[in-house]
C-alpha cells in the first residue's frame, strides 16, 4: 500500500476496525514515518476511550436516533416527498376550485319556503282561441277610444321607394289638420282580421316599450305630404292644417335597413296594416305608395310606424311571444293626424 493508502487506515486504528494485515501495515509504516507515527500517537487518545465498552455504547446511542430519521434527509427521499407534496397541493387546488354547477343554487332554493309553481306558458294556441285574451291585454293610450271613432277610412297597398321630394319647410306638426282625399275610398281592403289581432297585442306592447327612452334606438323621421290640386303630393308646412277630405301620405326616412310598416288603429281599438315595405338604410319612402290617408269628416287618425330590422314577414314575427319581444325593441313611432 502507498503511504496515502496507509494513512487512510488511521481512522480504523482507534475503533479496532482494521484487519490484522491492515493493522500490521499501518504500524510498520508508522515506525518508518514520523508524521504517521505522530498521527498514530494522537489517535491513541481516541483508541483508549473506545476500548471502554460503555463509551462505545454511549456513542452508538448518540448515533442511533438520527439513524432512524436519516432516510428523511436523503436526496431521493426529499425528491419523493417534494413530488408528493406538489401533487397533493395541485390536487387539492383542483379539488377545491369552485366548479360551475347549479348545485349552489339548488341549495339556496331548498332553504327558501316553497313557492307556488309558476304557470307554464300556454302552448302556441290557435289564433281563434288566443284572440280574446290578447284583446284584453291590449294597452291603449287614454285617447284611443275617441280616436278610434274618428277613423273611418283605410288605406292599403304596396309602397314603393320614391325619389326624395324637396324637403319640407319645417317639421310636420302632430296637430296638423288635413282634409280627406277622394281616392282613399278606392283603397284596397285592409289585411285579414286574424293578422290584425296579433298586431294589436304586439304593437300595444311596442307602444308601451316605446315609452322607455332606452328603446328608441334611431329616430324614425317622417314628413307629411298632401295632395295638391294637380294630384301631386307636396310637403305640408309646419303650421299647416289638415282638413277633412285631404289626401295625405307619409314620407319616411329609414334609419336602418329592414321592414317598414304603417298601421292604423281602428274604432275597435285594433290595428290594421295599411302598408308594408322592405327598406334600405338612409332611403326615403312614401307610405302608402298609392292612394292616400283621408277622412271625410273632422277626426283624428292614429297611425303607427314600425321598422323591424329584418326583412321578414311581419305576421310571422308577431305570432309568437318571442317575436313580440323582438318587436318591442324596434323603432316605433305614433302619428296622430287631426282632420279638421
Amino acid at each position: 500500500m502507498s503511504r496515502d493508502e496507509i494513512q487512510k487506515l488511521l481512522g480504523g486504528y482507534a475503533t479496532g476496525t482494521l484487519s490484522d494485515t491492515e493493522r500490521r501495515e499501518l504500524l510498520e509504516a508508522a515506525l518508518d514515518d514520523q508524521e504517521l507515527f505522530d498521527e498514530l500517537a494522537k489517535e491513541q487518545a481516541l483508541h483508549d476511550v473506545l476500548q471502554d465498552h460503555a463509551a462505545r455504547r454511549q456513542l452508538l446511542a448518540a448515533l442511533k436516533p438520527a439513524r432512524g430519521w436519516s432516510w428523511v434527509r436523503r436526496p431521493a427521499t426529499l425528491a419523493l416527498v417534494g413530488g408528493l407534496a406538489t401533487l397533493l397541493i395541485v390536487g387539492g387546488v383542483v379539488w377545491l376550485r369552485p366548479k360551475p354547477s347549479v348545485q349552489p343554487e339548488t341549495t339556496v332554493a331548498e332553504a327558501l319556503p316553497p313557492r307556488q309553481p309558476a304557470p307554464l306558458p300556454a302552448p302556441a294556441p290557435a289564433e281563434s282561441v288566443v284572440r280574446p285574451a290578447l284583446r284584453r291585454k291590449l294597452v291603449r293610450p287614454p285617447e284611443a277610444p275617441a280616436m278610434a271613432k274618428l277613423i273611418r277610412q283605410e288605406v292599403a297597398g304596396g309602397a314603393k321607394p320614391v325619389a326624395a321630394p324637396p324637403p319640407p319647410p319645417s317639421a310636420p306638426s302632430p296637430s296638423a289638420v288635413l282634409t280627406a282625399a277622394n281616392d282613399v275610398a278606392n283603397a284596397p281592403a285592409q289585411p285579414p282580421e286574424a293578422n290584425t289581432v296579433h298586431l294589436l297585442d304586439t304593437l300595444a306592447r311596442a307602444q308601451a316599450a316605446a315609452g322607455a327612452p332606452a328603446k328608441a334606438t334611431l329616430p324614425l323621421e317622417y314628413h307629411l305630404l298632401r295632395a295638391g290640386p294637380d294630384g301631386n303630393y307636396v310637403p305640408v308646412a309646419a303650421d299647416g292644417e289638415l282638413h277633412a277630405g285631404d289626401s295625405v301620405r307619409l314620407q319616411v326616412g329609414a334609419p336602418a335597413a329592414g321592414s317598414l310598416q304603417l298601421y292604423r288603429r281602428d274604432p275597435a281599438g285594433g290595428l290594421s296594416l295599411l302598408a308594408g315595405q322592405a327598406v334600405e338604410k338612409a332611403q326615403q319612402y312614401v307610405l302608402p305608395a298609392s292612394g292616400g290617408l283621408t277622412s271625410a269628416s273632422p277626426a283624428r287618425m292614429e297611425l303607427l310606424l314600425l321598422l323591424t330590422p329584418a326583412e321578414q314577414p311581419v305576421m310571422s314575427l308577431l305570432k309568437t311571444r318571442e317575436a313580440d319581444q323582438k318587436v318591442q325593441g324596434k323603432v316605433v313611432r305614433q302619428i296622430n293626424l287631426d282632420f279638421r
Partner: protein, 169 residues
C-alpha cells in the same frame, strides 16, 4: 522485523514525537522510560502490532502525567520524568475524568456528522471491519471505504477542535 529493531525505531519516533510536546531533554528521558518499561514489564511482547500501540499508550500517559504535575507545581521544568511512576491507566482518577470529558465532546461531535459518516461510525463501533462496511454501505471498492473513513475522521476531528483531547493549558 526483530524486536530490537522495532524498539530502536520506536525510540526514534517517541523522541521526535515527545519533542513536539515537551522539551528536548525530557523527550529523551521519556523515550528511555518507555523502552525500559517495555523491556522490564512487557518483555514477552515482540510483535510490532503490539509493541507500537503499547509504546504509544505508555508515552501518552507519561506526557499527560508530566503535564499534570507541572501544572500542580506551577513550573513545567520542576518535575523530573523519573518521578512519574508506572501508569495504571484503568485506576488513575485523572485519566478517567479526562476520558469522560473526551467522551462527552465526542458524543456531541458525532451528532453533527453527515449521514454517511454517522452510518460509517456506527458500523465501526459495532465492530465491523472495512470489508464488512463495504458490503453494508454498498461501496464499489474497499478503497472507497478507506476514503470515506479518512474524510469522516477528519470531519470529526475538526468538530472537536483539531484534537481528540482537550486543549492543554
Amino acid at each position: 522485523m526483530q524486536r530490537d529493531e522495532v524498539l530502536r525505531k520506536l525510540r526514534e519516533r517517541i523522541v521526535a514525537f515527545a519533542a513536539s510536546h515537551i522539551s528536548g531533554d525530557f523527550a529523551e528521558d521519556l523515550a528511555q522510560e518507555v523502552l525500559i518499561l517495555l523491556h522490564e514489564k512487557y518483555s514477552h511482547v515482540d510483535r510490532v502490532e503490539e509493541l507500537v500501540p503499547l509504546s504509544l499508550q505508555i508515552a501518552r500517559f507519561k506526557i499527560m502525567s508530566l503535564r499534570r504535575k507541572s501544572l500542580r507545581h506551577g513550573e513545567y521544568t520542576q518535575v523530573s520524568i523519573a518521578d512519574i511512576q508506572l501508569p495504571d491507566l484503568e485506576a488513575d482518577p485523572a485519566t478517567l475524568v479526562e476520558r469522560k470529558q473526551m467522551l462527552e465532546r465526542l458524543t456531541q461531535a458525532v451528532a453533527q456528522l453527515g449521514d454517511r459518516c454517522r452510518e460509517l461510525m456506527r458500523l465501526k463501533l459495532e465492530g465491523k471491519n472495512f470489508g464488512e462496511i463495504q458490503k453494508r454501505m454498498g461501496a464499489q471498492s474497499i478503497n472507497t471505504v478507506y476514503t470515506w473513513d479518512f474524510r469522516c475522521r477528519q470531519q470529526l476531528l475538526d468538530l472537536m477542535g483539531g484534537d481528540w483531547e482537550p486543549a492543554k493549558k
